[in-house]
Symmetry: C2
Subunit: 299 residues, 2 copies
């Protein structure tokens, strides 16, 4: 199996490097640190063991890369048009593209552009960051859930799960739409609220007013999911997410980091799109659309 | 008629000084700049003409002040307990207390503490600030609406209106509850949103997302007012407020100034109380209670 990683950052870079380190054939597309990694390799400082790729197969353009069995997309969703443009050179008839990205509607939009493409959702549960060129720091967690969106070759999909496991990545199959909405239950409240109030997850939960607000926002996501006939999410899931977050160390979600480092925020797929999906079935996410407006003002 | 001003700041100080300057008998309670004003007088730099009170009657405690026919309260509503404590020495049987303060529920709460007191609401439409000790800067507007809450002596109430007019202050009678809620239509969106997004009124209206949000928040206040059977407020009033604000110069509402200068914000009477009043009649102000939580987090 030939893997390609588009977007060798904190997420794509981590999973790709894990696969390469386990001996799988992985090609990496790099942008800003292409020259550095080509000369110096790719280092992963990981809570579960550091490792170093001496000579990773790195490229600065997909035109120079081989066709892939599996493409792992680790790009931010702020510029999917770029993905649509650089993807074709990697595609065979049965290439599987795994979108390790945040939000709702990513698979649907990609499918519209490439109607026959095999697509899966990759939901990463990981805290990692690229601290400097060629260095990925992996702080905690690291599992990934894969949801099959349109991969007709079930054995190909399963092989990816197996390869991830062989590479030491905890990976399991999930129902893609449910998984996307479950992730939104956490993502929608915490990403935006940490930006608007310039804070971290722990402080939002220590203050009784924002704690209540976060919980109500979670319930809005769950209400929306239920209106959209997503199975298996009820308010008890919000309770779980609250408990899980209380148990976490103080945390800045990806959107907060994007905002702090003056990078574009993933407002469309994290907010606008799920809000629109809910509206289509008659549900107004009132607090989260207010948060969306606040974020758009700040962006 | 003997007037007393409690809270000789940007608002109380302005109206009191206008009355004193017109020859009315006015006593001023001062706190931080008592010594300065006693020694140097009180200056009003006003868009409608500067004036100077050479020897205003100033006091540092209500215990030294005379009993008053009318008490003008210009204190921030963040510490009404202080008002309840310092008010008694000024009161006769038929003293009228005019609360020139922002929010909903102020008159009701004061009445509970002083069941027989004559109370009126004072709704100031003015932009002024105390820039330094003894100096009040009056930038624009300056009218005041008075709403009778519990003044049984109608001629006393009317005399206040007349005195204000004689002092060059545009003053008219309004229905107190409607006036309080009308003011909330502007106050609730703009005060909080300028704080949370660290901005001014004009920028909120130039951005289409926050413009829409502000309008929706105004409609929440109007929905609440209608549920509370407040007469004569419908969505067209929100349109008027949007238009008026678009025509205004870039503006920082009082809560934004309080936040910037690290003074306590008037969250209770501006947000918590109207939200609770609406809840009592079954209406949830969803976006404004989110704003309330954000403000409480920031306070």
């Amino acid at each position: 199996m030939k893997y390609s990683v588009i977007g060798t950052g904190a997420i794509g870079g981590y999973y790709g490097a894990k696969l390469a380190n386990a001996g799988f054939d992985v090609e990496f597309l790099l942008h800003s640190d292409y020259q550095y990694v080509k000369a110096n390799g790719l280092k992963v400082l990981s809570c579960s063991g550091d490792f170093f790729l001496d000579k990773p197969k790195v490229f600065s353009s997909t035109e120079q890369m081989s066709k892939a069995d599996v493409v792992l997309v680790g790009l931010k969703s702020v510029n999917q048009e770029v993905l649509y443009k650089i993807l074709p050179p990697l595609l065979k008839e049965d290439t599987l593209v795994v979108l390790i990205q945040n939000g709702i509607g990513l698979e649907e939009d990609l499918q519209k552009k490439f109607p026959k493409l095999y697509i899966a959702a990759g939901l990463a549960f990981i805290c990692s960051k690229k601290t400097q060129p060629g260095i990925i720091e992996h702080m905690f967690y690291g599992s990934i859930n894969l949801g099959n969106f349109s991969c007709k070759d079930k054995s190909l999909f399963n092989n990816v799960l197996t390869d991830f496991s062989k590479a030491g990545i905890q990976a399991q199959e999930v129902e893609y739409y449910q998984a996307r909405w479950k992730k939104a239950v956490w993502n929608m409240p915490f990403n935006g609220m940490t930006v608007v109030l310039n804070t971290t997850t722990d402080k939002l939960l220590k203050n009784p007013d924002t704690e209540k607000l976060i919980y109500e926002q979670m319930k809005e996501v769950i209400d929306a999911a239920q209106m959209l006939k997503v199975q298996g999410i009820d308010y008890s899931f919000a309770d779980q997410m609250m408990e899980m977050t209380r148990a976490m160390i103080p945390y800045s979600p990806s959107m907060k980091l994007d905002y702090d480092f003056k990078r574009p925020m993933e407002i469309y797929y994290l907010y606008t799109r799920p809000i629109l999906e809910a509206q289509k079935v008659g549900y107004q996410m009132k607090k989260l659309s207010m948060l969306e407006a606040e974020l758009k003002f700040l962006s």
